[in-house]
């Protein structure tokens, strides 16, 4: 189906998220949509898929102007979208997920549905068990389910929003292969990403977004510098690598074994030196979060020891770890990191251990203002944290870190931030390293892992690699390990 968007505008409060977007996508092609977080890509796709509505503008499908007000409308017109975080039902079976949303009579024809499901799986080479519960599937498999579900419902246009986040290298290969087959079958594919490599390897055409505007359309052969220039407006150079580690050991793991309901990690030995940065790579749910939580005492190991500053901390809880200078910074800022409803000043007071009964508001405000200046937080001491932007919330979280610290554990420290904020956050974290604090962090962004880590641990299904030296590891090698290849030499 030919898709044409004309003069689309969308505002969120003061933000002009889509500013006069006009875009033509011919049938049977793969259209790339490239841009940084917050550039307006997702907004446009949500408009096209009926999740939200444009303030003004027109959508034309095969020459007919249409009005799409709900996702149900969109799918009736043949537009289906795969959301970045698959919108499905983990506690239900695969086949129930497949059927849910299909129009029809009171009792779904299950046997018929299973047959058609298996046929589609066979056609595209997916191996999915219709009777399995969805929560046992990987993100990549859930994506495959969504793709065939949308095709089954008659989708002629498939929108994929950042589909390569959280899936393995193998699954990515499979996905790209499938998308190319679909394009040959005359479907229209819209591929949204902020990863240059993905877009370059797949798309017939790329539209680049920047700050709500469509700033350029490019055709192959792609020149990476040109795309970067369009995305950021100027070339960005991240700070250069600097090793801040010392020989002194801050935290030592001896023969550590862990498990949760889904996976086991066995017999990990690791020494974390002062001032060192260790990145944890892997598909989401491969064990890196379990491992990080154990380092903070949030998850009790089954066996083995965690030694902090020479003290055996095994079996102690998080607050005991905090007393030994270990802090955990979660990814979900407003859910786990900050307290909506409380002001910045109240957060500062909470994060400090001061004796006394009454709060000294004067000095607390002064302290908060000092931190606001130091961390460039756009807000006042009385601002409530939920009123701050994502970047400011992340800076506030850093401002709340106590000092001195032995070890900071971060989940996705720059997720959802623009590149400049990310660079700033890391420069602040590196300052900490120079003050002898070690850092262990999780990220699904391989560039970030390679750029900022001294050593990298790769996780795959609960297996943990030996520490890899970041300076001598390539993206390709890392990608393989994350996807489960080349582990023989590690076992």
């Amino acid at each position: 189906m030919n898709v044409e968007l004309r003069h689309i505008h969308k505002h969120f409060g003061k933000v002009h998220a889509n500013n006069d977007i006009t875009l033509k996508i011919p049938s049977g092609s793969i259209q790339g949509i490239l841009g940084e977080n917050g550039a307006g890509k997702s907004t446009l796709m949500k408009i096209l898929s009926g999740f939200i509505q444009a303030d003004s503008g027109e959508i034309e499908l095969d020459g007919k102007i249409v009005t799409i007000t709900t996702p149900a409308d969109a799918i009736r017109y043949g537009i289906g979208m795969l959301h970045q975080d698959p919108l499905d039902f983990p506690p239900l079976k695969v086949i129930d997920n497949f059927i849910l949303g299909q129009p029809g009579g009171l009792f779904p024809r299950r046997r018929q549905a299973v047959k058609e499901f298996m046929d589609l799986c066979g056609h595209y080479g997916f191996k999915l068990n219709p009777e399995a519960y969805l929560e046992t599937l990987t993100v990549g498999e859930r994506q495959q389910l969504e793709i065939i579900r949308l095709l089954w419902l008659g989708a002629k246009v498939l929108i994929l929003d950042e589909p390569t986040t959280g899936i393995s290298a193998l699954q990515k290969e499979k996905l790209f292969e499938t998308l190319k087959v679909l394009a040959k079958e005359n479907k229209t594919i819209i591929f949204v990403s902020h990863k240059l490599e993905d877009v370059e390897g797949l798309c017939d055409r790329v539209a680049v977004f920047q700050r709500g505007k469509l700033v350029g359309e490019v055709k192959p052969p792609y020149k990476t510098e040109e795309l970067v220039q369009l995305m950021f407006g100027k070339a960005v150079s991240p700070g250069c690598r600097e090793y801040t580690g010392l020989n002194d050991i801050a935290v030592k793991l001896e023969n550590l074994s862990l498990e949760d309901a889904r996976l086991q990690i066995k017999h990990v030995n690791l020494e974390i030196r002062r001032g060192e940065v260790i990145g944890l790579a892997g598909m989401e749910g491969s064990g890196q979060r379990l491992f990080l939580r154990a380092l903070a005492g949030l998850q009790r190991p089954n066996t083995g020891r965690i030694v902090v500053d020479g003290v055996d901390m095994s079996g102690k809880n998080y607050h005991a770890f905090m007393k030994h200078g270990i802090t955990y910074v979660p990814a979900a800022r407003l859910e786990e990191g900050l307290i909506p409803g409380l002001s910045l000043m109240e957060h500062v007071v909470l994060s400090e251990e001061k004796p006394g009964f009454f709060i000294d508001t004067g000095s607390a405000t002064a302290e908060t203002n000092r931190k606001i200046d130091e961390y460039y937080i756009r807000g006042t001491a009385a601002s409530r944290v939920e009123a701050l932007s994502g970047g400011n919330q992340q800076r506030a979280l850093l401002a709340l870190l106590r000092s001195p610290l032995n070890l900071v554990l971060l989940e996705h420290p720059t997720r959802g931030l623009d590149i400049e904020s990310a660079i700033w956050i890391w420069s602040k974290l590196k300052d900490r390293c120079r003050q002898c604090t070690s850092i262990v962090f999780i990220s699904s962004d391989l560039e970030e892992i390679l750029q900022y880590s001294d050593y990298i641990l790769v996780f795959f299904g609960g297996k943990v690699s030996k520490p890899l030296e970041a300076a001598t590891t390539s993206v390709a090698r890392l990608g393989e390990l994350i996807g489960g290849k080349g582990w023989e030499e590690h076992s």
């Binding site: 059927i99 849910l100 949303g101």
Partner: protein, 331 residues
Amino acid sequence: MNETILIGLAGVIAAATPVVFASIGETITERAGVINLSANGTILLTAMAGFAVAVNTGSLLLGFLTGALIGALVAAIVAFSSITLKQSQVAVGFVLALMCRDLAYFLGDPYNSVSGPFLTPTPIPLLKDIPVLGTLLFKQDILVYLSYLLIIGAALYMFKTRPGLILRGIGERPAAAFVRGANVNRLRYLYTILGGAMVGLAGPMYSLSYKAGWKGTISGLDGIGWIALAITIFGGWSPIKAAFGSYFFVFLQWLGLVLQSSLTNIPSQVLQVAPFPLMILALLLVNIGNAEWVERALAAMPDRLRHLISGLLRSLRSSPPASLGVPFENE
């Protein structure tokens, strides 16, 4: 089997019928992602109003309809305030639980101890002659038969039909149901009101059948609604388990009364509450696996013991619809 015991057990089934309706109604509401905490007040109010209407019109049917209507109305208030106005479901439900109770006592004053119509048993021909089961299940009133259909129907609807699949979807992940074409908030309204109507039917089932009449504060109905809410959790949001929970609860109360004859110095009110500590214990068993200290204690155990105990806890655990009590907004 001893005939007296059999008749007693048949009485348990009859007495549990209102609880079955209320707990299945609440199960449906909560499956859609809404907590309606008002059940206790609703049941009292509909018991009174249903009775009053039946007394004034002489029509049992109108009495029951009134109950369903008022239950639906109270639920609509909960739906409006939580779905449209985004206020706390717990707060609104709790206020309604108290207010409807007082409203029942206030408006029911003139009907206190008035005699009125009530439903009599309608034995089903043939079925009633089956040994044991006939007496137990088929010499009941029509509402009891209706409850059998409700249990099976609700379970079938929820787990086998297309709209039932969507019902589970909107309580689990409303955004995902929305992209599949479900009008989440409209459906939540619908199921809250439908569930409320079922809870509302429970009231007249007492005042027009099982505990015929209205006796104000000593009607003995205060507390039933809270029990129904607990049974909903205990039943893991499944209509069949909720029904069994209801029978079990009433069975315990009956057992208390039966045993009382041999333990004469304990007042009946004391034995009547025996199910409550049991309810707490049941909730404890279902939930304790989620407690942090249990996880920590488990982690320190040797492998085999750990797997044994965590397997046991997991089989007991029931997890609520993931978006229970969470309002849905698209963007």
